[in-house]
Symmetry: C2
Subunit: 202 residues, 2 copies
């Protein structure tokens, strides 16, 4: 595995970014402070209508949470990226939607609260692209379990500062990441404080 420390860039807490990852390159996503959930999407650079699908990924893997060696699949059932390394306990989420203006409205927040859904479209717009929908995200480091009666159980992250995941691109992809702005529930840690993350393309 190549070192990535010299290539790290920072994604500010509550914000999103869209980056190109060419086929064969690695993308490393670092949970710098250990407590930050990161909403993650990959799309086919050549055709954004082919995008990451959590429902196809679960179907293809017969598993709710991808593990090292597993690919993330598109809505055309093609491998977009393979998860090649994960220094965290491997607890990620594929079940829940990105947070959205409607969620913060339910929480009673003032209008204009940043959201992962807003970040997804803002980040795509910053590279001159648009998509007419918000695909289901892969929520890195987000601690969500399924209970015996099909309950969705949300809890604080179990990752440590500096834990990272590494993906290898299986095709030319655009990756969008959002350092989740959730500051009402403890999904980003018990102090409900979104924090910066880091990433590198190597």
């Amino acid at each position: 595995m190549s070192d990535f420390s010299g290539s790290l860039q920072t994604l500010q807490a509550r914000y999103g970014v869209a980056i190109a990852v060419p086929k064969g390159k690695d993308l490393v996503v670092v949970n710098t402070h250990g407590t930050q959930a990161i909403d993650f999407w990959a799309l086919n650079s050549a055709n954004l209508d082919e995008f990451q699908s959590m429902e196809h990924t679960r179907s293809r893997l017969s598993r709710v949470i991808p593990k090292v060696g597993d690919a993330i699949y598109s809505n055309r059932r093609a491998a977009l990226l393979t998860l090649t390394e994960d220094t965290s306990p491997g607890v990620h989420d594929t079940l829940l939607c990105a947070c959205s203006p409607e969620i913060y409205q339910e929480h009673g927040c003032a209008p204009g609260h940043r959201s992962c859904e807003g970040n997804f479209h803002e980040a795509l717009g910053a590279i001159g692209k648009t998509l007419g929908c918000t695909p289901p995200p892969f929520n890195l480091f987000m601690n969500v379990a399924v209970g015996p009666d099909s309950e969705v159980i949300r809890a604080a992250p179990v990752s440590k500062p500096g834990d990272y995941v590494r993906f290898q691109a299986e095709m030319d992809v655009v990756v969008v990441m959002s350092a989740c702005p959730q500051d009402v529930t403890p999904i980003n840690g018990d102090d409900c404080t979104p924090r910066d993350i880091q990433y590198a393309v190597v």
Copy 2:
């Protein structure tokens, strides 16, 4: 609960249908032979870009499988329908994608095998509508469980002949249903034979 037996219509095995269900009306979906998985979608009639989202539904319910009394939510987090009655054991699926041409290609089927994804778009087209994506379906009567290591476990249906679910529309919706054409795996019963279903708007 109103009787629906005089209003039943048949949906042929392997095919789809799109129907309007006005706000306040009930839609009953009958698993006539007990073994048939039915891919199910609801969309806002006034704006098809607002469609059923399994990831929002799981988030809003904090539950993987909706139960009687639960609503099915849209990608704008609005209630589309409420599940008001379920005579089956309540085993349905929100985790897996609709079957698609790519899945039958993986199975080694000849090109042109019908699919729930194809049925979704064909049925919308038959009422003069289109959507640029295939939302994650609510797979009625489809027996999918989550194991202790996050495995997705597919099994034959546990519903009985004549079991039905009833939904009340919370807004004017278009509902698309597909009597799943899967005939390679036993998701439609151990004899791998798709069968007709029935439905009624009352």
